[in-house]
């Protein structure tokens, strides 16, 4: 407390206090030089790495990586070359997770010599996320098990495998069979939404031909289209479309959901759903248009929210879950694409979405992955 007696705090004293603050900060801090050697470290960093502070100084990051467990040390050179911050999630040991932020320290000549590494303890968030995913997984299993039981027993009863039934009985059984099918679909959507919300939208990506995925999605929707008297037309692209890096299952789901909507929003007379795709400079653009009911102007801003169903559609089709577009948007945006639409009531709606072409997406992925 002796410095309060003085009128002015000198620079030296400021630095002294500054150093104390640095040393006792609640987040781990390391500063490494051009040769990737640690020349500054605080107590928290030492605690996180389980090494004595004195032993940290002078060590190279490569040597320390057995305690740090950084997946790819190339991040350091990337930070230096690009002169940009990077974030990485690290798991130094079991049940202990850190988020490491790499900040380039620029000299007056705008060169990067040293890197500041800040380590944040995110164990609690990660474990909570894991517990939550597990809970969701278990809950859906618990919901799906009896629903499957109902489905199977109703099927066997309807097929008269257990004995004969009269027409009234069969009719009712069919009705509840359908209700149960919708339930099952709802539970499936729920699981997808829960995955999306825990940040696990994309699981596996590969370089794929988007036309094939679109065709496959169209095939999945064919049955419902025929039932509703809707024709699906796939306009072949005019030029060659490059492959895209996508999670096949998820992109197919997104496309299916949009086409599904287009079919449902069909007017009673002959409906048409047209799917087109074209290449733009840095992305490919897909268009799905229908000549159906359209979305009323007042409701357009709610279209992508969970459980939204237009007032005009609810009177005709009560079975949609209202989750389809929310899911589609989450999937497209997780691929760094954009999705939007144009619609006019009683004329029709066109949905557009884009997917970036490979090179750009590859970069995007590496910065997002755990």
């Amino acid at each position: 407390m002796w410095w309060f007696k003085k009128k002015k705090i000198t620079n030296q004293e400021q630095m002294f206090v500054g150093y104390w603050i640095f040393d006792y900060l609640d987040d781990g801090i390391l500063v490494i030089d051009q040769k990737n050697r640690v020349f500054l470290a605080n107590f928290k960093a030492a605690e996180y790495l389980r090494i004595k502070k004195e032993d940290l100084i002078g060590k190279s990051i490569l040597e320390l990586n057995k305690y740090l467990n950084l997946r790819d040390l190339a991040v350091l050179s990337q930070v230096r070359i690009r002169k940009e911050e990077r974030k990485e999630k690290i798991k130094p040991r079991d049940n202990f997770f850190l988020e490491a932020k790499f900040i380039p320290l620029k000299t007056q000549e705008e060169e990067v010599k040293n890197i500041l590494i800040i380590l944040y303890d995110i164990t609690r968030e990660v474990l909570t996320e894991k517990a939550k995913s597990e809970f969701i997984r278990l809950s859906t299993h618990q919901l799906w098990t009896p629903a499957s039981g109902i489905k199977w027993s109703l099927k066997m009863l309807l097929n008269e495998e257990l004995g004969e039934l009269n027409n009234k009985q069969k009719e009712l059984l069919k009705e509840i069979y359908e209700a149960n099918e919708r339930e099952i679909k709802l539970i499936g959507d729920l699981l997808t939404v829960a995955e999306i919300e825990s940040g696990n939208v994309i699981s596996e990506v590969s370089l794929l031909n988007i036309e094939e995925i679109i065709q496959s999605a169209i095939n999945d929707c064919e049955k419902m289209a025929i039932k509703k008297g809707v024709k699906i037309i796939f306009r072949e692209p005019k030029e060659r479309i490059p492959k895209v890096m996508v999670d096949e299952e998820k992109i197919k789901m997104a496309i299916r959901n949009i086409i599904d909507n287009a079919i449902r929003y069909n007017k009673s007379s002959k409906g048409i759903v047209e799917v087109g795709l074209e290449r733009r400079e840095k992305e490919i653009r897909i268009e799905i248009s229908d000549n159906g009911l359209g979305i009323p102007y007042e409701e357009q801003r709610k279209v992508f929210s969970k459980f939204f169903r237009g007032k005009n559609i609810l009177q005709i089709d009560t079975t949609g879950s209202g989750l389809g577009l929310y899911i589609a948007k989450s999937i497209i945006e997780a691929h760094n694409g954009r999705i939007w639409f144009e619609s006019e009531e009683n004329k029709g709606t066109t949905f557009y979405f884009t997917l970036p072409i490979k090179k750009k997406f590859g970069e995007f992925l590496s910065s997002k992955f755990y």
């Binding site: 997984r137 278990l138 039981g149 199977w152 099927k155 066997m156 995955e195 699981s203």
Partner: protein
């Protein structure tokens, strides 16, 4: 088709589902044995040497993946074809199941009992042709 010489082991903890699958299999003329958890399933597999195993993934005690692992490690029962019959049908689970040696992966909520019978018949047909 006379299926009575074919024995199928059903490993499923939910009594309702188990009852339905067993009934369906019996109707098709198969001989059926049941287990309500993974450990009993392994025991039955070793003792009774079924011709095919229907295995659920979410089980009390050791889960379906563990059961599958142990089956493929146990020399005498490693060759019995295992069909996973589960409610968890995401890609990660399917791949893991197939990697661990399951010959097929069926999602309960998406199939009717008839579909299960068809898949089983296909597997038996393939085995006979080999």
């Amino acid at each position: 088709m006379d299926n009575s010489n074919k024995k199928i082991l059903v490993v499923e903890d939910d009594s309702f589902l188990r009852k339905i699958i067993v009934k369906k299999l019996l109707n098709e003329g198969y001989t059926v044995i049941e287990a309500i958890d993974g450990e009993k399933g392994l025991k039955m597999a070793k003792e009774k040497r079924p011709d095919l195993i229907l295995l659920d993934l979410v089980l009390p005690g050791i889960d379906g993946f563990e059961v599958l692992k142990r089956m493929k490690n146990g020399a005498e029962i490693a060759n019995i074809p295992v069909v996973i019959l589960s409610n968890l049908g995401n890609r990660v689970d399917i791949e893991r199941g197939l990697e661990l040696g399951a010959v097929d992966f069926l999602v309960k909520a998406h199939l009717a009992p008839r579909d299960i019978i068809e898949r089983i018949e296909n597997i038996f047909k393939k085995m006979e042709n080999v």
